[in-house]
Symmetry: C2
Subunit: 250 residues, 2 copies
DNA sequence: ATAACCAAGTTGCCTGACAAGTAGGAAATT
DNA sequence: AATTTCCTACTTGTCAGGCAACTTGGTTAT
């Protein structure tokens, strides 16, 4: 049988010989320029952008390319267009889209900042989950905890089960914003670890330590003890950050 | 007049655009469709998307429109394109862009969720700011506190000064993610209040209460007392949420 | 068997055109 | 003279077709 999908040789954050992806497209750079015009304040809210024709001439690109660039700003809520009238800078207070862009994940400080945000979100999420979880959600959390234990017992790293455990908790907050943001940050950080160092480095007591911390979180959730849940989550995240630092050291 | 109409029969190649429906724009709706294919898991990471030509025929839109839609997915990090090869679904772990989309801000529950996230982010930010603030940043925070007091004394609502006060705090965390996210949520919520009800409703003791809570936060930051700073911020945010609920009640 | 090469396929970008909608001024009416 | 109606230029939304740059897999030459 023939394979239709080829491995996309995806460039992750690991700095290969090539810079990230290709060189940015024309629309990419143009979008950045226009965005700069807005955030810098040279174009004020409500003000009308130049017409596509004018921008096209100014920057020496075709109209479709200009449209692509403006389309992104529109997608990000920075401008609104009205057919026949033009494109206008949106009111900052009415912008309903927030973009969290981790541009440079090899930057040490950026990692620190991301982890810090992750800790804040997940600690609070765990606190809320402890109070709000339904019986069904509690069962789901327990199942993930058991699955993690089973993986550890088999001598595996249990990274996937670890992710699933945390995900089942943030799910129990009932707040999709917590869930999605936590999910994103978690995946991002873990993916970094995965590429930075082999997961096998985790075996050797670490998995057991992680599991013990998980158990503490779970116990607090069972008791619906918000304060204890937060404390346990903070402790776990602090330790996780230390383990991450271990990976980074060498 | 060169604008004479032509027989509409030439559209025959397009197989009824009803497939997509008439949303905001063809590219908009198409982008949503394709995004759904990815997040739902029908298209797995690494898998190749249909060619622009095929998508164009499937959905009955032109290739430029398809390009615009794919361009957005690319912008959001969901797909990666390689000239000559095709477009591929990105590895979720490698996605470096997070979109927080407040679709329906009139939904009561969505407001609650957003405020909850705001509280989590800003309470932690205040805690960090208390420990890390430089002398210069402390001066800036104090200046905003004074400006707010002056506004209140003049009988104004001091909403703008209020925003500036919080902004100077999250700035002192030294973490741009906290700053930007807090800034966005704050603006969004306040803008909602602004439109939901006249700001003058705030006058009448409320401003003084707000100011007292601000003072408590500031005092804790002066002492570099992280726990007290968090407690004061949580108290302030809880009260602010109550005041917001007051607006919403009627 | 291995390496060089070629042709089909795909994305990136362009030009040109028309449809749909907007806004301001000219023309008609009161 | 003031008001309403209508027309026209302008702008965005969409389409069609085409060429260049690049990838891929099979074919040919060594």
């Amino acid at each position: 049988m023939s394979r239709t999908a080829k491995p996309p040789e995806q460039r992750s954050t690991a700095p290969s010989r090539d810079i990230i992806g290709r060189g940015p497209s024309l629309a990419d750079t143009l979008a950045l320029r226009l965005k700069d015009e807005i955030v810098s304040g040279r174009l004020r809210p409500g003000e009308k952008l130049a017409t596509e024709q004018q921008i096209s001439e100014t920057y020496g690109v075709s109209r479709p390319t200009v449209r692509e660039a403006i389309g992104r700003l529109k997608h990000d809520g920075l401008v609104i267009t009205r057919q026949g009238a033009g494109a206008f800078v949106a009111d900052p207070g009415a912008v309903s889209v927030f973009r969290l862009d981790i541009a440079d994940f090899s930057n040490r400080e950026e990692i620190r900042n991301i982890v810090e945000l992750l800790m804040a979100v997940e600690a609070t999420a765990t606190e809320h989950a402890a109070v709000r979880r339904t019986k069904g959600e509690l069962k789901a959390i327990e199942a993930q905890l058991r699955a993690m234990q089973a993986a550890v017992d088999r001598g595996e790293t249990g990274v996937d089960e670890d992710v699933a455990f945390h995900r089942s908790i943030v799910e129990a907050t009932g707040n999709p914003f917590f869930r999605d943001l936590s999910d994103f940050l978690d995946r991002r950080v873990r993916n970094f670890i995965r590429t930075a160092r082999s997961n096998t480095a985790r075996i050797g007591g670490m998995a057991q330590a992680v599991q013990a911390e998980h158990q503490a979180i779970f116990d607090a959730i069972v008791r619906k003890d918000a304060a204890a849940a937060r404390a346990a989550a903070e402790n776990h995240l602090r330790n996780a950050a230390s383990r991450l630092a271990l990976y980074l050291e060498r």
